[in-house]
């Protein structure tokens, strides 16, 4: 696994990040950093820009201003002679392979089997042998509790099972950073616990850095080192989960938490 930088360098760093869709400014002057192995949960009302942050890290959205650094290297743009210059696609791809993402809607490839979904990128992006990638895929399927589903097609699986495959697919790339975008929001309530337990297990057994957007507050409390509360495109409060959940200092955080926890 490529870990070329020393542990003091943040794994993810946002510097004066701005993101707007047309006239709609979603993020403004956002600064924060995530240390290696840190698990950070982003909370806040919908439309506050949490998912946009994950999508910016995954380069699924175009950054409109500022800089994002991964392992100290610029992800999309660097400053050169006082100007913002786009990095080459090769440089970007090198960093992007260290980042994995699990989506709300799973986004498995329906035309491939479960196994093919998992081994595609390890073979063709990381250059692993088919045997190596397949062995790893089987052990990951074991880990997510689906050892006998390798040859099935995703659409023959339940939502919860599909999401577990998607987690295995992301982990097969050995990411340094794992982005979890509302991974349980599309699931039936009774399977949410299974998926979260698998992620708890990943958090406990690996040193992967996680950036999490979720409405599952107990999960956020269990796995994260830090919680950041967003509102209107800004971080209005951040701290340890115990602090944020039991004694939020900002009024917006109090309102948000009572609304979310109220029906939990």
């Amino acid at each position: 696994m490529p870990t070329p930088t020393d542990p003091e360098v943040p794994v993810i760093e946002f510097v004066d990040v701005q993101k707007s869709f047309g006239d709609n400014i979603v993020l403004k002057d956002l600064n924060f950093s995530v240390r290696r192995g840190e698990r950070v949960t982003l909370i806040g009302p919908s439309g506050s820009g949490k998912t946009t942050i994950l999508r910016l890290v995954m380069t699924l959205e175009e950054l409109t201003g500022g800089y994002i650094f991964v392992d100290g290297e610029p992800l999309t743009h660097r400053e050169k002679d006082g100007k913002r210059v786009a990095v080459s696609s090769k440089e970007q791809k090198k960093l992007r392979t260290r980042i994995g993402m699990v989506f709300q809607q799973f986004n498995l490839f329906p035309n491939m089997t479960v196994l093919e979904n998992i081994i595609e990128a390890p073979i063709y992006v990381l250059g692993q042998s088919k045997a190596e990638a397949t062995a790893k895929a089987h052990s990951l399927l074991e880990q997510v509790g689906l050892p006998d589903k390798a040859d099935q097609h995703p659409l023959s699986l339940s939502g919860g099972q599909q999401q577990r495959v998607a987690i295995a697919r992301a982990l097969a790339m050995d990411p340094e950073i794992l982005l979890l975008d509302e991974v349980t929001s599309a699931l039936d309530p009774e399977v949410v616990g299974d998926v979260l337990n698998i992620l708890r297990n990943v958090a406990d057994t690996t040193n992967v850095t996680m950036l999490i957007v979720t409405h599952e507050m107990s999960f956020a409390r269990d796995v994260s080192h830090k919680v950041m509360m967003f509102d209107g495109g800004r971080v209005i409060e951040e701290g340890a989960p115990e602090k944020i959940f039991s004694d939020p200092s900002h009024q917006r955080t109090q309102q948000f938490l009572s609304a979310v926890l109220g029906d939990a």
């Binding site: 791809k93 989506f103 035309n111 491939m112 595609e120 990128a121 063709y124 992006v125």
Partner: protein
Amino acid sequence: MIPVMPFTADPAPATGSTGNVWNWDFAIEIFPAILRAFIEVTLLVTVVGTVIAALLGLVIAILLRVLPRPLAFVLRWAANFIRMTPLVVQLLVLYYGFTWMDPLTIGFIVFGIHYATYMSEVYRAGIDSVPKGQWEATKALSMSAGRTWRRVVIPQALRSTIPSLGNYAISMFKDTPFLFVISVAEMVRVAQTIGAQTFRYTEAITIAGLIFLAASYPTALLINRLEKRLAYAN
């Protein structure tokens, strides 16, 4: 080039009264010549034309997505131009413009390119129907553009396009009589020649029509079955 063969059989004797419009003996006699023209020209042009159209149409659809804007614009208008002008005109332009070229080859090229512009629209709709989340997943896995197209986008796009592509293949098949304008001896022209030489058009033209039907209908059924087989297993 396959020349129009003069049909040498004797004119069918006018048996009995003038009310006899269908002569079975004559029909059986001329059937092999018409069938031969069907296989050697009509079917050949349809198959070769469909292969060219299906491949070229896919290439056009992909290029329209990946080319820089000015180039994509030029390609889009070139495709529109071909689609919006009649097939017959295109056949004639190549026939008189490239006199050294074998008319049958002109047939392959014109049918292939003309229908490629239609099929590219079908592929475009198929590509557009691939959900955004699929593209995002390929990016999240850092898949190359080539693998993304080959393993994810094209296979998923094709499923919804098979019926329309098949219908265009059948349309092309039914357009093959236009080959007569460049003097290719396709089936209908052979049938008409037989009629002209024997003064019995009914049998010849009817046989040609029935052969068309006998080929189109099973093809349509086949496309239907293929479409069902390609649907995702549930």
